[in-house]
Subunit: 336 residues, 2 copies
């Protein structure tokens, strides 16, 4: 019994130490900064706010929270909001509530999950801008491993294998080194209550299958899988960022006009740089850079001339030493 208590108190220390390591390694939080915890009310975000509250004096940052009510589960959504409100009141942490209407914002070809995610991150960005603050989300090392496997299963390149970035723009993930098990034990030993989100998004099927059926088997082979994947994603991210930056530099050097590039210069680039440069050209025109689109554009760049329909009214064109995306404006008749 005593051993179990010791072990549990050890886990609580582990979580705090891992949070401090993540903050230090990735330079997540500096003195006098403002940090907003994205507080859903689940075990992860409750642990996150509890940890950050513990160390805020030591590092010297200002802590607040925001909660996004997705209004997708009726009374349950409201009770989650009430939980977040009560928790922040108890901890004396300022809280901002965002109430969003997911179904109203739904567009063709996007799922409830995707729309909810887009709106949620829009709220985070807004709050981050309003307070000149960083937003801390509660992603953990199990989420990171699941993301790597999800991407691996969907088919991915280097970028997809980098998992969840510990820091991206205004976002920080201080729990990224902690496992779900450690987080639940942390809640337990600190007597923290939390809510459980019963939403079952359609694409959650695959993630759940990975979480419940595949990862347990992988953990039998390697019990320190999560740590190993964390180290892998960290190293791969460095490789990926390095290659992305090289591509940006080369693309900049190949620029000969507004969104127009020297196609011969592009053709001379090594493939890892060329494919990334093409991906940047596509993004510049709001085109999702899929493998097929990149390959098609690459082929006409290499051949020195050609035109392909990239999507709808957008064409990739290589002609007279120039490579670019042209947008053809067409008049459509309205269907009645």
């Amino acid at each position: 019994m005593l051993k179990e208590i010791n072990n549990r108190s050890h886990i609580a220390d582990t979580v705090i130490n891992k949070v401090l390591s993540a903050i230090k390694n990735h330079n997540m939080i500096n003195k006098d900064e403002k940090i907003i915890v994205a507080l859903s009310g689940g075990a992860d975000s409750v642990t996150l706010i509890h940890c950050l509250n513990k160390i805020k004096e030591e590092i010297g940052f200002e802590l607040s929270a925001c909660h996004v009510n997705h209004n997708l589960r009726g009374a349950e959504s409201d009770s989650d909001q009430a939980f977040a409100e009560a928790l922040c009141k108890e901890m004396n942490i300022p809280l901002k509530i965002f109430s969003i209407d997911v179904s109203k914002a739904m567009e063709k070809h996007t799922s409830v999950e995707e729309t909810a995610r887009t709106l949620r991150y829009r709220a985070f960005l807004e709050e981050s801008a309003r307070l000149s603050a960083k937003v801390a989300t509660a992603h953990n090392s199990c989420d990171n491993t699941e993301t790597v496997f999800l991407n691996l299963l969907r088919g991915t390149g280097l970028k997809g294998l980098c998992g969840i970035p510990p820091v991206r723009d205004y976002l920080i993930r201080p729990l990224i080194l902690c496992t779900r098990e450690e987080i639940e034990a942390y809640c337990d030993i600190n007597g923290l209550r939390y809510v459980t989100d019963k939403t079952n998004f359609s694409t959650a099927y695959t993630r759940n299958k990975i979480r419940l059926e595949i990862l347990p088997k992988l953990l039998e082979i390697n019990p320190s899988l999560y740590g190993g994947v964390n180290r892998m994603t960290a190293a791969l991210s460095e490789d990926s960022v390095f290659l992305e930056n090289m591509a940006k530099k080369e693309l900049c050097a190949a620029k000969i006009g507004d969104k127009t590039y020297d196609s011969e210069r592009l053709a001379s680039l090594p493939r890892p740089i060329l494919t990334r440069a093409i991906s940047l050209i596509l993004k510049e025109r709001d085109i999702e850079p899929t493998a097929i689109k990149i390959k098609g554009f690459e082929e006409i760049i290499k051949s020195g001339t050609g035109k392909i329909n990239i999507e709808k009214n957008k064409f990739a064109i290589v002609r007279k030493g120039k490579a670019e995306i042209q947008i053809v404006i067409q008049k459509y008749r309205k269907k009645n």
Copy 2:
């Protein structure tokens, strides 16, 4: 019934087409080259020799085979050899037999599997040199996926995620795009007999677990997993080779003496290049470049001075602008 036959004959075509694609994409075989099939007698290598025999006139290469008898399973090993001999005689393909003594060659800290592998590849290299030929091994796309997952589980970097290279030095893998299922169907429809290796190497435990328990679950989520992983490893290999080559170039530029490098120049390299350059320095001294060794060496390079014990009597030293591995020759007393 007719549908099934059509489907099966379709699979036989698929295998041949995938072999032709792999050969073309990776420039595996050119006219007038000599190709030696590494023939264990299993379904994979029997399919490989059958396919290559079918297309050898078309491409215009010379086909032979070699069989390595590991002498690990007594009479069964000899019967596998006899099978390979009979098959080659029937197909009128010259065959060279290597008979190796694995237990005699076993060293400390190496497994039977590792030793067998080392000796087998030594035989391939010898035969390749003797005939000025390439050696074709029968690795398939399932082996490739398993290797990626094995490495992922063990903890890996970009290189480990590149899987089995379709071409490496004198080795080619023409079956790399075919699944095990397609290969078995190919044997079936062509009435090819093959042997089944019942050896159960100790580390085969993990591979078997991945093959039998994990991959079937992943295939439920994405039935075209093997193709997806093949595309991923192909793209990652390009990234990896590009970074490796950059590191080689930078290391060459930083060379200031025999195995001695300008430490300040190294320190200025971006991490993805520096860590690869360090790995090359270690390999130059026959040191297995583990993450810990690379990190230790990196730290003293960055700090500008220091000495660490890399392994046994080998020290990484940074001093007066120079970085190198020094080997300290010590006299040991023999234990009686």
